[in-house]
Amino acid sequence: MPEMTYLEAIRQALWQEMKRDERVFLLGEDIGVYGGAFGLTHGMLDEFGPERVRETPISEATIVATAVGASLLGMRPVAEIMFMDFVLLALDQIANQAAKMRFMFGGRTSVPIVVRMPGGSGTGAASQHSQSLESILMHFPGLKVVNPSTPYDAKGLMLASIRDPNPVCFVEHKVLYKTKGEVPEDDYMIPIGVAEVKRAGRDITVVANNIMVMKTLHIAERLAQDGIEVEVIDPRTLLPLDTETIINSVTKTGRLLVVHEACQTGGWAGEVIASVVGSPAFDYLDTPVRRLGGRDIPIPYNRGLEKFAIPQDADIEAEIRMMVAGKV
């Protein structure tokens, strides 16, 4: 199986799907000649031409609105928001239009768009280009929020997202773009709304998304040497959230930690925790349920402080050790 980066996996998904389905087209800022701010659409203008790789003005509202309109007329647009932070400018189109049309028109139409957006810190891009806003998007019924952590998941979920008849926010992570993994050349889909146990363990369930999955898996290897077996669950889709997989895991381990880069207050960890505590897994909890989110501050530009703002390996490891030892 060929190895490729997270970025290449997404590009391959877009490429293959545009070859397969002529209704699929891309739109966004600098995605053509420049190949996108992160180079994700590099080469696609040459391959598919300006009709299908459409450069837009700097107006996120217009980008998504155009995608919504095109989708209503039968197209399958994939819009790019250059930095996830800018999705706030398009939020009316996403939340009030795309998410609601199918319901408000009594199911007579649907909005099959994908809105891609790289989020996350770690590139020294400061407060307005580093946020993790996926929790905000979870609050709008009618949307799907997809959030892959590996190249394999990224391709499979992108194909599933484009073929989904409803609007999907496809949240990528800037730092993950360069991570590598095995990705099949074939056409395959990963179902939306299904979590994956990335590592099985008996002592504690850690639910994490995107880059935090990688960090937690790394820590889990180290902890295993000390006899602590961490079960790592990647929800992969945040909306709809696969609570069943999480609840089953907590029933087994009796401990739950949720780790995300998004600011802790109002972050999706609260949603996971409420789902578990309100479920029959309650009776199996053997430590207080904990979350480790980003600090409630704008991401600083200073590289040292930028790291300080989000959970680091040492923070996650300390938290897991405390919980497993029954010291919290």
Binding site: D283, D286, T287, G326
Partner: protein, 437 residues
């Protein structure tokens, strides 16, 4: 709801009372009307009785405090209630305080924040014992103090949900489990550890399936223990030659066959004779009350039977008024209902005497425990064919001999009364025609 302990008003014009001394402390068990404290009005010293039986909690005023009448000065927690059941504290400050208290008052206002003072009052914490983390004792300090109290001093046991589940499943009282978590919180591993220790010390490594004592099992256990401990049992045994009874039963069975009725059992026949003998011996058909004895006019005979969940005793009402055929029919029906667990409450109530027949299992003779509130029970053994001397010429014949053992409550039944009853049973069974006499 906990019962509020109110400073009583002893006089029409009385407005306040001074507490002279508390006879009881927080956490003491007090009985209704037991003296809990002595107070003084401007006229007289008076002992104040408890308004209820329970545990004294949250005493709000100290010795020497002057308290307005009708003020709540403490609470009585009834069985099962905890401090958590108390309403939020609303404390009327004492009207005047002795020297010592004004010192501690100035201490608290100078060294603790108002929130800490209020919280200390609500939780009954002595602020002088609370360590301060800064200039003043803060709410946080009081919380830390409370959190560091040993589990024994806390009313509710802190335990994780998993620990509670495991404790529930293993039938372990969380209060007996030492918690290894922060602030003594009990975690599931602590419960499992305790669970392992308990059976090890009790059963010396033997394994047992533990069945919770519930429902009928608990009732049986309680009633048998009560009966055996409270009523002094005497037991008398007689042997009965069942030759004649068997002959009669044979004739009855022939009749039953004609009527397409079930075969008449030995038990049915015994019930008939027992009923007849009970009418002649009213003290056997009686109940002991603490200061009287009830001689029952009805003869309602219970028959011990096996039901899926344990022993049941369906009752044949008015057995003295029924023929053996009718007794047999009702017995068959009751036994069937007992087996199918379908007995109604009225089927098992109102018994005045009980028969327990284990003869069909080959049990020769046994002593039964009286089924309270009855005064006697008849244990019926198996009929065994054996050679016995049948007349004064010492002729020996093989006859079916059955033993009957009467357990009787000696408070009600003298030995001679029990003996007479047994003698009547022998007569009735050996010469059934005597029942017509």
């Amino acid at each position: 709801m906990p019962v509020p302990f109110i400073m009583p008003k002893f006089d029409m014009d009385q407005e306040q009372a001074t507490i002279i001394s508390w006879e009881k402390r927080d956490g003491d068990f007090v009985k209704f009307e037991e003296t809990v404290l002595t107070v003084e009005t401007d006229k007289v010293a008076i002992e104040v009785p408890s308004p209820a039986t329970g545990t004294l909690a949250r005493i709000t005023y100290k010795d020497g405090d002057v308290v307005p009448v009708t003020t709540i000065i403490a609470y009585i927690l009834k069985d099962g209630e905890t401090l958590a059941d108390l309403p939020k504290a609303d404390i009327t400050p004492p009207l005047s305080k002795p020297e010592v208290d004004s010192v501690s008052q100035s201490l608290t206002s100078a060294q603790a924040t108002p929130v800490a003072v209020r919280m200390a009052k609500e939780e009954g914490v002595d602020l002088s014992k609370v360590a301060s983390s800064g200039d003043k004792i803060t709410r946080r300090d009081v919380e830390l103090y409370l959190a560091n109290q040993t589990p024994a001093s806390r009313v509710a046991v802190a335990a994780t949900p998993a620990a509670r589940r495991v404790a529930r499943e293993k039938g372990i009282d969380l209060e007996n489990v030492a918690g290894s978590g922060p602030r003594g919180r009990v975690q599931s591993a602590d419960v499992s550890k305790t669970a392992k220790q308990i059976p090890a010390s009790v059963s010396h490594g033997r394994e047992a399936e533990v069945i919770p004592l519930t429902g009928i099992r608990r009732t049986i256990a309680e009633r048998m223990q009560q009966s055996f401990q409270q009523s002094p049992h005497i037991a008398l045994t007689v042997d009965v030659d069942m030759t004649e009874a068997e002959k009669v039963r044979k004739r009855f069975n022939a009749q039953a066959e004609k009527l397409a009725q079930p075969r008449v059992t030995v038990t049915a026949l015994i019930i008939k004779v027992v009923a007849w003998a009970l009418v002649r011996n009213p003290y056997i058909n009686a109940s002991f009350n603490s200061d009287s004895i009830s001689l029952w006019k009805d003869v309602n005979i219970g028959v011990a039977a096996a039901a899926p969940q344990g022993l049941v005793v369906p009752v044949l009402k008015g057995a003295d008024t029924l023929g053996v055929g009718e007794i047999n029919l009702r017995l068959v029906e009751l036994a069937e209902r007992a087996r199918e667990n379908k007995l109604k409450l009225e089927d098992v109530q109102g018994g005045t005497f009980t028969i327990s027949n284990l003869g069909m299992f080959g049990v020769r003779q046994f002593r039964a425990i009286i089924n309270p509130p009855e005064s006697a029970i008849l244990a019926v053994g198996s009929a065994v064919r054996k050679p016995i001397v049948i007349d004064e010429q010492d002729r020996v014949e093989v006859r079916p001999i059955m033993s009957l053992t009467l357990s009787a409550d000696h408070r009600v039944i003298d030995g001679i009364v029990a003996a007479r009853f047994l003698s009547d049973l022998v007569t009735g069974l050996e010469s059934p025609s005597m029942l017509l006499y």
